[in-house]
Each structure stands twice: as structure tokens, then as C-alpha cells.
């Protein structure tokens, strides 16, 4: 039909801790193309919060409760979470 590229997936990306308090929410909805990878979610988050784009581009994302490479493809229904820890002790 020529419209394949318009297919999108919507994810509600979970956020926690200081980030959740800073943004006053517990999850962020992002749209990515149907063939998106983890990196595309980083970029979508960065675009959504320009003042935190550096953070979101580098942030580690967990997919279905495990860390994935940034190239890993996503499927509709995947649970995505920003797992960026502050460390310290």
C-alpha cells in the first residue's frame, strides 16, 4: 500500500527515583517506528525532554527487565524502563 513506514509503536517508558521526581511522573509515553531499536527510544526520550537530551541519549534502558544492546529490536508490548543509577553508597 506504500504506507508501511507509518506504522508506529507506543511505549510507556517507566522511570524511577530522582528522575521520576524531577519530571513529576512515573512513565513517559513515546512513539517509535515499527522497526525501532532501543536506541530509537533513547532518541525519542531526548526529543521529548530537550533540556535532558544528553541524559536520555546515554541512559541505560531495560527491556522486559533486562539490559539490552542499543541495537536490539523492540516489539509491541515490551516493558521499557530507564535504569540509570546514581551509584554511591
Amino acid at each position: 500500500m506504500g504506507f508501511d513506514a507509518l506504522q508506529i509503536m507506543v511505549f510507556r517508558v517507566l522511570i524511577f527515583g530522582p528522575l521520576a521526581r524531577e519530571l513529576s511522573c512515573a512513565s513517559i509515553a513515546v512513539d517509535v517506528p515499527d522497526n525501532a531499536s532501543v536506541r530509537d527510544v533513547n532518541e525519542a526520550l531526548a526529543a521529548r525532554y530537550p533540556h535532558k537530551s544528553t541524559f536520555f541519549r546515554a541512559a541505560r534502558l531495560a527491556v522486559n527487565h533486562a539490559f539490552r544492546s542499543t541495537d536490539a529490536p523492540l516489539r509491541a508490548g515490551d516493558e521499557i524502563a530507564v535504569v540509570e543509577l546514581v551509584g554511591g553508597g
Binding site: 517507566l14 524511577f16 527515583g17 530522582p18 527487565h65 533486562a66 546514581v86 551509584g87 554511591g88
Partner: protein, 134 residues
């Protein structure tokens, strides 16, 4: 060889009698993390721990298995609090049984460093004097 992980609501209790009669290990370490009143220069009354489950438990268990293999441990037990833990109370306990002290000490240090970096648990300081209270 065993790995156990427990996420516990609120402060941890007293350590279990961690040393059943056992002739196979030579060193046992119990590490307790305690909530300090001073958090980055401010006085707090508690820490609140946010734990992303089941990822946190899965990763603690995986990290435990990795330490068990790498350091040749006999057993490793992890307890971590979720929710509010008052100052002076314990929020984390790591128990390691090994043949010798060197591997037990190395495993404790490495486990905690890796946990801080990779396991999805966040802490929030709760001020002793919340805004508007005084």
C-alpha cells in the same frame, strides 16, 4: 552452593544465625548496610528505597551466581529493603560463606560495587524536618 535473594518491606531484622554447623567453609562475612543520619550533608530521618521488580531480584540473583562462580564461594545470601528505613536501621545485608577469607572479602566488595551500578534500586532521602513542618 546456593544463592538466595530477599526483598523485604522496611528495615531488615536481626541477622539469621548465619553459621549453621558447617565444616566445609572457613570464612563467613556478614555485611550490613545501615541508614546514616547524614546524607550528603543534610540530616535525614529515613531513606526510601524504590525497587523495580522483578528486575532487581533477578539481577541480584544473577550477580550472586556470578560471584559464586568467579570467587568459588559456598553460599551467598542477599537481603535488601524496599520502602522506608529509618536512620540507624539496616537496609541491606550480604552474607557470604567461602573456604578462605580472601575470596569472601573480594566477593563482598565486588558484589556491592556491581549492585550500586546495575541493580534497579533507587534511594530517596526523607528529611528530618520536611518543608512546612517547622
Amino acid at each position: 552452593m546456593s544463592v538466595t535473594v530477599q526483598i523485604i518491606d522496611g528495615a531488615l531484622g536481626d541477622p539469621a544465625p548465619v553459621l549453621p554447623r558447617a565444616s566445609q567453609f572457613g570464612a563467613a562475612i556478614v555485611f550490613d548496610g545501615v541508614v546514616r543520619s547524614d546524607e550528603g550533608g543534610r540530616t535525614i530521618r529515613a531513606l526510601n528505597y524504590e525497587v523495580y521488580e522483578p528486575m532487581a531480584s533477578n539481577m541480584l540473583a544473577e550477580l550472586g551466581r556470578e560471584m559464586l562462580t568467579k570467587h568459588g564461594l559456598i553460599a551467598i545470601m542477599v537481603e535488601h529493603s524496599r520502602g522506608e528505613v529509618p536512620v540507624g536501621q539496616r537496609s541491606f545485608r550480604l552474607t557470604v560463606h567461602a573456604l578462605h577469607r580472601a575470596e569472601a572479602l573480594a566477593a563482598v566488595g565486588e558484589f556491592i560495587d556491581r549492585m550500586k551500578r546495575d541493580v534497579p534500586i533507587w534511594k530517596t532521602a526523607l528529611d528530618a524536618n520536611p518543608p512546612g513542618s517547622s
